[in-house]
């Protein structure tokens, strides 16, 4: 059933044909599953699955000062990739208080062009903030809502995608992890292929014009890549220890207490990125919480906002299809170690504190 008020991706017709259960996902009519979220999860861990991620926001930044602009805008240091075309970098975009406006991936395209992919739910505020930070810099910001994106993920996904799309993504098979490639640049068949994803498995994120997205989706499906919904995307990213904006961090939370310290680069003392002084102050005063993985010892399911006995709370939680146990992310007091207790309804249940991720490349990494 089509709800006229919801936005639709260019692949909607294929979703309906393939039996998707569609739900309102932040104003978009998106597939939550095509029958079984669990089957789709296992499909990605063991074989190949794909996700419609056209709702995500692609922004191109061009101009001779784009690197200077990003050096201030982002908590991670764009200098790591500035002179390495094709290289990707994950970062937070912070406000002046050190809260997280969004998390994003940037791809260095050439010395004067960086492609940024931000979340769908934060699109408007991200664009407003990014524009407000331009000042007089020689940087042109263009939202690429003419482009669609499909994520193919799983141990066999790259092989299947290369077979299915052949010359369309020529050269993609040589991509190293966290690198991207532009194919047929400037033509109407332009493809942007990145060896990135949000599942903890190998794969590509493939960008093409909206008008060609449905056909590409069907070609990939014919090659054996199973359509997967946003339900499986959530359980996969949780097992992979990957944060979800709005759950695991937001403008009221510091990246240092959201498991994202590794993405905040203080090493260049001259680089005064937004929020830097607030984060330095937090470090000086000492952090109250640390961000950890939890595994529930007994039966039950961990969910966001369940409280930790003694302070802290779950930020995300689910039942892990790979581990067959409840898992979650939580802020726990910095002194906590080994175990904690989670308040679930009327009970207090034991949970083991572990280092993230839980699962990578099909293998369980925690006991």
């Amino acid at each position: 059933m089509t709800n006229a008020t919801l936005k639709e991706t260019p692949i909607i017709k294929a979703h309906e044909d393939m039996g998707a259960k569609l739900v309102d996902f932040g104003g978009w009519n998106m597939p939550i599953h095509y029958g079984s979220q669990l089957d789709e999860h296992h499909q990605v861990r063991t074989d190949a699955g794909m996700f419609d991620v056209c709702h995500m926001t692609i922004v191109d930044l061009r101009g001779c000062e784009v690197i200077d602009y990003l050096a201030k805008l982002l908590a991670n240091d764009v200098a790591k990739i500035a002179d390495k075309p094709g290289k990707a970098l994950y970062s937070c975009m912070l406000n002046n208080e050190g809260g997280v406006i969004d998390d994003l991936i940037i791809y260095s395209m050439d010395p004067a062009w960086v492609r940024v992919i931000v979340n769908s739910s934060t699109r408007e505020k991200d664009l407003a903030w990014m524009r407000s930070q331009l000042g007089n810099m020689a940087v042109d910001l263009t939202e690429r809502d003419d482009l669609a994106m499909i994520a193919v993920q799983g141990p066999n996904s790259r092989e299947f995608a290369v077979n299915a799309l052949a010359d369309e993504i020529a050269g993609a098979d040589d991509l190293k992890p966290f690198n991207a490639l532009l194919i047929n640049a400037g033509s109407e068949n332009e493809r942007f292929v990145a060896r990135t994803g949000y599942t903890g498995e190998d794969g590509y994120e493939i960008v093409c014009p909206n008008t060609q997205a449905e056909q590409m989706w069907r070609q990939l499906a014919d090659a054996g890549i199973k359509p997967c919904g946003l339900g499986a995307r959530d359980t996969l990213r949780l097992e992979a220890g990957m944060n979800l904006y709005g759950n695991d961090m937001d403008e009221t939370q510091s990246p240092l207490e959201s498991g994202l310290s590794w993405t905040v680069d203080f090493s260049n003392e001259k680089r005064q990125f937004n929020g830097r002084s607030s984060l330095e102050q937090q470090k000086e005063q000492g952090l109250k919480y640390k961000f950890v993985g939890l595994i529930l010892e007994g039966k039950g399911v961990l969910r966001a906002h369940q409280e930790i006995v003694g302070g802290g709370e779950l930020t995300s939680g689910t039942f892990s299809p790979t581990m067959q146990k409840a898992i979650g992310f939580a802020r726990v007091p910095v002194g906590a170690s080994e175990t904690c207790q989670v308040a679930i309804r009327k009970k207090q249940l034991d949970a083991k504190i572990v280092k993230l991720p839980f699962v990578r490349n099909g293998k369980v990494l925690v006991g």
């Binding site: 979220q37 039950g300 399911v301 689910t318 299809p321 409840a326």
Partner: protein, 131 residues
């Protein structure tokens, strides 16, 4: 259209109720509800002997996606629970009206079941909620 057996009664919170020969009531969730919740991974059952008010929450079913409370349709005492669901919660997905039953309650007084919905009324509810 969801499967809505004619011999059962229903609630607006998507439980089904079967009146047994001894007057006890067997309770589960409907085919429509299991479809909305998706793959079940955990069921928290009441204990046999527990007493509940009408419309009091007495069990929880959890899918990968969400937790959902199950409400007692009448004031009564739990006389049986489907312990198999503890090991195999997916029985609710496979057959919501049979192997997926959750608990059985013996009404504590002469309860009227008039507040429960008949299959036609429930079909209308499902129809209205899918718009």
């Amino acid at each position: 259209m969801s499967d809505i057996p004619q011999e059962l009664k229903y609630t607006k919170s998507h439980e089904w109720i079967r009146v047994e020969d001894d007057g006890s009531l067997t309770v589960g969730i409907t085919e429509h509800a299991q479809g909305l919740l998706g793959d079940m991974v955990f069921v928290e059952l009441p204990d046999v002997g527990d007493e509940f008010e009408a419309e009091q929450d007495c069990a929880v079913v959890e899918s990968v996606k969400a937790a959902s409370d199950i409400y007692c349709p009448v004031e009564g005492e739990v006389v049986a629970v489907n312990e198999e669901l503890e090991e195999a919660p997916e029985q609710i997905n496979v057959n919501a009206y049979h192997e997926g039953w959750i608990f059985r309650v013996q009404p504590l007084k002469e309860n009227s079941l008039d507040h429960l919905m008949n299959p036609d009324e429930y079909a209308k509810l499902v129809e209205s909620e899918s718009h």
